[in-house]
């Protein structure tokens, strides 16, 4: 390992973290503007041109807010919970490629941080760790509503993790690899959403539940739980939960686009490799738009219905899809 490679990794990691953080800031603005349009309002348009400085204003506001720690809270875990929530969401996209290779100053640079042969497993491992922050936040607040919100979201995330994992099986079987780069390369001519519509639907619904988005935003049910696990958080600690939620949205959109929509693949990407990140960005933007659209349109699903959907519909469907795909792959000789 030479020093150049080391710095390349450091710079790529920095780019990922900075892009995700900037993406979080502008995803909030994107969401507010789109929802406003759907509800025939205008949305935030005062700070800067088209309201582009609104995230900055929000950030400054949150920094100057008073931070409260409840007297009965578990101080250590109350402090750690937001950090434990943000870290997995920042590292989960490390295995998602944004392009092939480019040449900068005579040096061949790969447009991805790493391409490990168990990339999908890495994603599952990190996703399963991200539950801790939420459940610990609920418990450490020493507040009944926060605890109930935390427990609800834990139960929801554990239940939908199964369907999420099973939805990965389809693309894995078709590509014959656990590496995201191989899965994207296998979609050069045909996106897997065409071959695996059931897995795509499963992934989409399970990922909505996994990042606690509407119509599965049960952990944040304002009416019943006064906002759920983050009820006692304020200031920058609250902002970290907010940040984790939006970064997770971007992450599931990136992973979903790579698994089912061809990732960075698109016309002319062979000749102009810089188009790769552009295509990925566009796909993520469309995916986020659909998520926001759903939030503006659908009411929240009832909790028992949500569990029923997860365990009695999506889980068996995922198993069936895995079995059928495996049979077809063996018969066709993939």
């Amino acid at each position: 390992m030479d020093a150049g490679l080391f710095w390349e990794w450091v710079i790529k990691s920095l780019i990922i973290v900075l892009m995700l953080t900037a993406g979080f800031a502008y995803a909030t603005l994107y969401e507010r503007r789109v929802i406003a349009r759907i509800q025939v309002r205008i949305g935030p348009n005062r700070a800067g041109p088209f309201g582009l400085l609104q995230p900055v204003a929000d950030g400054i506001k949150l920094i100057f807010k008073e931070e409260l720690t409840p007297a009965g809270a578990d101080k250590v875990l109350f402090f750690l919970a937001p950090i434990i929530t943000v870290l997995p969401s920042l590292v989960i996209t490390a295995v998602v490629p944004w392009g092939d290779t480019v040449v900068i100053g005579g040096r061949v640079i790969r447009l991805y941080l790493t391409d490990i042969n168990v990339g999908i497993l890495y994603i599952l491992a990190v996703a399963s760790i991200s539950v801790y922050g939420i459940v610990l936040a609920g418990w450490a607040s020493n507040n009944k509503y926060a605890l109930l919100g935390g427990l609800r979201s834990t139960a929801q995330m554990i239940s939908y993790e199964l369907a999420l994992g099973l939805s990965f099986v389809g693309p894995i079987l078709l590509a014959g690899s656990l590496s995201l780069m191989d899965i994207i390369n296998a979609q050069k001519h045909l996106w897997f959403v065409v071959l695996q519509p059931a897995a795509f639907l499963l992934y989409f619904l399970a990922s909505l539940a996994e990042v606690n988005r509407a119509p599965f935003d049960m952990p944040e049910a304002e009416q019943e739980l006064t906002a759920g696990y983050h009820a006692e958080y304020s200031g920058m600690k609250f902002a970290l939960f907010f940040m984790a939620e939006y970064i997770k949205m971007i992450a599931v959109a990136m992973i979903g686009a790579s698994l089912f929509l061809g990732g960075f693949m698109g016309p002319f990407v062979d000749r102009f490799p810089w188009l790769g990140p552009v295509y990925l960005f566009l796909k993520v933007a469309v995916w986020l738009f659909v998520m926001i659209w759903l939030r503006a349109t659908l009411p929240r699903i009832r909790y028992d219905r949500l569990m029923q959907l997860g365990w009695k519909v999506m889980f068996p469907l995922g198993l069936l899809n895995a079995v059928v795909t495996a049979f077809v792959v063996v018969l066709v000789g993939g």
Binding site: V118, L121, S128, Y132, V135, W139, A155, I158
Partner: protein, 186 residues
């Protein structure tokens, strides 16, 4: 061993041992569970450094991410965070300590009284860690143990459902006999 490797292993080893001890001595069940999670993740990192990413991420996803989440969930649901000050099994601490010392003595005796020089384990060929090779091993060479393990897990699932199942459903309520008995008491 190079100095850098030694430092990395020393730090990781200290975290592994420290989190294991922390799990044993903490009087709060949530903290004990979190120490165990830290232990599992650090052991996963050790696997990763040893060149076994498949085992490493499986360890993190299954032990740290699924089993321990359920532990934490149950502890919070039952409100059983505070462990009792009085131990249910009296004197187990001393027996445990004695067993630990005996084990250390045995390991030391084995190391110092050995007759042959210590050998490194035979190095495994490159590519052994890839999921394709692991999968082939499981399906071809170790098919029977693999199937038996799967069958055992299936039996455990069926047993759990049988234990949790309500005996006879009560018409119209969707509830079983236990709920009916509870209603009568009121």
């Amino acid at each position: 061993m190079a100095l850098g490797t030694l430092i990395v292993f020393a730090v990781l080893g200290l975290v592994v041992a420290g989190s294991a001890i922390g799990m044993l001595v903490s009087r709060n069940a949530i903290y004990a569970a979190l120490f165990l999670v830290l232990n599992f993740i650090t052991v996963g990192v050790l696997y990763l450094i040893l060149g076994a990413p498949f085992i490493s991420f499986a360890q993190v996803a299954i032990y740290a991410g699924s089993i321990m989440v359920l532990f934490v969930f149950v502890i919070m649901l039952l409100g059983a965070e505070q462990l009792p000050v009085q131990e249910p099994l009296r004197g187990q601490r001393w027996i445990g300590l004695l067993a630990g010392v005996l084990f250390l003595l045995e390991a030391g005796a084995f190391f110092y009284l050995r007759t042959s020089a210590p050998r490194w384990a035979a190095e495994i060929g490159f590519g052994f860690e890839s999921p394709v090779v692991v999968g082939r091993m499981l399906i071809e060479k170790y098919l029977l143990p693999f199937e038996i393990t799967g069958f055992l897990l299936l039996i455990a699932v069926v047993g759990a459902i049988f234990l949790a199942r309500l005996d006879t459903p009560v018409k119209g309520t969707g509830l079983g006999r236990h709920a009916q008995i509870g209603e009568r008491k009121e």
